[in-house]
Subunit: 226 residues, 2 copies
Amino acid sequence: MARAVLFDLDDTLYNTTLQVRQARENAVKAMLAAGLDATEDEAFDALVKVVAEKGSNYTRHYDDMLKFLGVEPNSKLIAAGVVAYHEAKRAYLVPYPDTVATLLALRDRKYRIGVVTDGLPVKQWEKMIRLGLSDFFHTVIITDDTLEPKPSSQPFVKAAESLGLNPGDCVFVGDRLDKDIRGANKAGMESVLLVRGRHSSKKPSSEEDEPAWIVTRLADLLDILK
Amino acid sequence: MARAVLFDLDDTLYNTTLQVRQARENAVKAMLAAGLDATEDEAFDALVKVVAEKGSNYTRHYDDMLKFLGVEPNSKLIAAGVVAYHEAKRAYLVPYPDTVATLLALRDRKYRIGVVTDGLPVKQWEKMIRLGLSDFFHTVIITDDTLEPKPSSQPFVKAAESLGLNPGDCVFVGDRLDKDIRGANKAGMESVLLVRGRHSSKKPSSEEDEPAWIVTRLADLLDILK
């Protein structure tokens, strides 16, 4: 019988895919309104291309985007994009409708709950604070320089250890087969795939990515765990 | 007779001093609430000291602050500070009560209006956008790699040129004797000292820092220019 329920953060506790798309669209619209000479599609594609090339934590996306569009460097246009991006990012940084209720119900049933996530530790904590979730968890493991990222079993095992439990006592819930399910399976946890968000259409390519359960809402966990 | 009125940005069009102080206090309070083991004064002094040492555009103030306080690196504490800082910074990023009305009145009277400011161009534009002022000005000069900062006369002269005017046709309004008044005087503009905010208690130390006018509210400009 499970004693802990651990969660991935992005696209599991909130809709990261929607947030990022809305933020980028808002940035592009603001840049066009501020005078960027391009179509909305051209500008959006340029931004997506720069993020794909330079990674999401690069700090000069908009400079490179203008360069890619053949537009002279322009601080006003860049600032318009930055402000609009952050406004939308902030507005969409809210938990899924069933996240808080599900976490509270799990705590009421005496489960230990936690998060295992990749990403920059301060950024991931910023998200949890803005989501209103930073005080909910008995453990939070963020893979950093000292810990291999998912799908390594390392962060999963560390999460169980930090709760004084064996991985076999833990259920892990995430949206990505190649990161969450594979890693949790390797660690010996019971894996639950949340089919929601960007990676929802993928199918397991091998047995190691096979989830023990599939749910479409976090609230379904409460039935599985009965 | 003046044909243009140019403004400094920080502490002239909005209360930067108050904004920064509130943001730092909010950051410290949030870090204490998140478990930082220090008194509010110790934590505030540590933050101020780090900012003084590393400059305001350094990106790891809170890491250094914890180090200074002898506290282990802690992403949750740092994130608490970052989020609280930005929340307050955003809340206090509003024009002085008379800024918008004064700018509109100057435009109604057919003055050209503009901004001459030091700082990172994208950051300064972000402020103008969030202040709701980004479309008000006929010229915005931000000193960057290609332009000497105040009190050089260079950015002042460039602002006049960009409006097709001589510096003698321009009035310049700012809060700092050693930057705004000295630079405007050197460029041959009529200088107006706004006595408000952080640098308000200083007295001119030499003739080159002597303002032509002193005002305590932006709205007073409308009388001076009559």
